[in-house]
Amino acid sequence: MSEVTGRLRRPPALTFVMGAILAALVGPNAYYLLSGSSHALQTWSTIFIAVVVQAFPFLVLGVVLSGLIAAFVPDSVFARLPRHPAIAVPAAGLAGAILPGCECASVPVAGGLVARGVTVPAALAFLLSAPAINPVVLVSTAVAFPQVPNMVLARFAASLGTAVVVGWLWARFGRPGWLRIPQRRFGGTRPGTEAFRLTVQHDLLHAGGFLVVGAAMAATLNVAVPPGWITAVAGIPVVSALVLAVLAVLLAVCSEADAFVAASLAGFPMTARLIFLVVGPVVDLKLIALQSATFGRAFATRFAPMVFVVAVVAAAVTGTVLL
């Protein structure tokens, strides 16, 4: 009803075109006036655009998979999945190994799984393990750490352990009100292709907007944190590990690239670098933004600190044993 009147009141395409023309006229001048000689702002925009461009194909992959799950997978498939967390959580964690992407792809897919009735703890285990233990990430880890063959094993074990422990913790202590269950908005009575198109479009716009927020925060910290601060703590045992854990959250490096960043952190102990590799794919700024888009802010504010603690502990223990 409001759709019809809305269409009559403001011709949307025209508004959009007018807005674009206005932006084209005013935008560059204002921008150059502001940036002027400011190389910091230019560097900020380069990193901001780089994160968005890098994440874009993976985000599209994620929303397309989520659309396929919403539109084409019959209910009988989800009805047959195990529901008891003792089995469902580790199974979902292991299933994360087959999604060849980074964290930007896994959030919409996990949202799509919950919308189709997969239990929340299982979907969360999948959400956490997929960006960390898929073959692309493990191979890049092996390439980045040729002298430390155990690094791949340690990363796999600590990441899967984090995913399973968090899934179980959520199953035991999580409250329904903490998480907004994503709705399957366009399924049911619609033909599959239309449900697919509408789901992909909705998820793309929703997650895409939040990705922009995450990219802006990551770019800000990338420019704001003086690199000297980081190298200064490399030699201090516990502090160096915690600094790398926080750095993994702030820098929001893609999980397919973080191994090379960790390899270049000369002077840091191997366990501290493992913590960087385990924390980054499960908690970082753009991931928190994407998670609040899919599951709500109340979820993200509880989930991120819990995952951070579990990931740091899991990586510290694994690193002490294996590295």
């Binding site: 759709e3 269409r7 949307p12 395409a13 959009f16 674009a20 932006a23 084209a24 935008g27 560059p28 150059y32 190389h39 560097t43 925009s45 380069t46 990193i47 901001f48 655009i49 780089a50 994160v51 461009v53 890098q54 874009f56 194909p57 599209v60 397309v64 750490f145 002298q147 907004r180 709705q183 908005r185 366009f186 049911g188 009575t189 619609r190 198109r197 992909v200 479009q201 793309l204 716009l205 895409g208 907007g209 939040f210 922009v212 927020v213 990219a215 770019a219 003086p226 690199p227 190298t231 820098l251 929001a252 490096v253 397919e256 690239a257 973080d258 960043v261 270049s264 000369a266 888009a293």
Partner: protein, 245 residues
């Protein structure tokens, strides 16, 4: 964002990304290997947006099925009733507008000045001999690793050519610098080589090709040494298509 606008918005975003991926500017932000994925993703998004534009805005059905779905309206949390997308979708217009109107330049001397000039230990300390022949073109990062961690062994007696951008030093002199990407500019590492024996001075961020030979660093410890090159010639060049290596 109403259903009618969504199609146009998504299609325009797809076209902007496709243009970025096809005409080389994407190399200012990400690695060349991302191109096929970028093209595929932006083509898909463009087709999706055009389909939605036609189906939802040009030829909308009389009764909007979004309201006919049983059990959907009640379960909804209100912000996207009848196929509306949440307001957050508009935010994606910001990077699209920046790419279209004011594409930021590749990382340059500002980023280079934020890192030290020492070279991290390479994965392997075995360096293959340089290609035989006259002048050998090397990656700046390859030169830097050989100059410090190999104490110049594979470089001595050879003439090499390096391309990068100029980073003036505070106390006179300048570095030749080039950034390396793993994935995107957010994980860039800039490698700097101190240029010796060049009397020419270049503007900050000017692209320069240096031909010269290895010269030892003042510091013997490779972890703390700054790589140096003794320049025979240093000339201005145009920016390469891929500003990173």
């Amino acid at each position: 964002m109403s259903r009618e606008v969504q199609g146009v918005f998504v299609a325009v975003a797809g076209v902007i990304m496709l243009r970025l991926a096809l005409f080389g500017e994407y190399l200012n932000y990400v690695k060349p290997s991302l191109q096929p994925y970028l093209v595929a993703a932006s083509l898909g998004v463009t087709v999706l947006g055009l389909a939605s534009f036609l189906l939802d805005a040009v030829f909308p059905r009389q009764a909007d099925p979004g309201q006919a779905d049983p059990g959907q309206a009640g379960a909804d949390d209100g912000h996207d009733h009848g196929g509306r997308a949440p307001w957050s979708g508009w935010l994606f217009g910001i990077p699209m507008a920046v790419i279209l109107l004011v594409p930021p330049p590749p990382l340059g001397s500002y980023a280079a000045n934020r890192t030290g000039a020492t070279v991290p230990r390479p994965a392997s300390l075995r360096f293959a001999p340089l290609r035989s022949g006259g002048i050998v073109a090397l990656l700046v990062r390859d030169y830097a690793a050989r100059a410090t961690w190999d104490q110049g062994r594979t470089l001595s007696g050879r003439t090499v050519r390096l391309s990068g951008f100029a980073v003036p030093q505070a106390g006179g002199g300048w570095y030749l610098a080039r950034a390396t990407l793993t994935c995107c500019a957010a994980d860039a590492r800039t490698v700097k080589v101190e240029v010796d024996g060049s009397r020419s001075s270049f503007a900050t961020d000017a692209w320069v090709t240096v031909t010269g030979s290895w010269t030892a660093s003042a510091e013997r410890d490779p972890a703390r040494a700054v790589p140096r090159i003794h320049a025979a010639t240093a000339t201005l060049t145009s920016r390469p298509e891929n500003p990173y290596e």
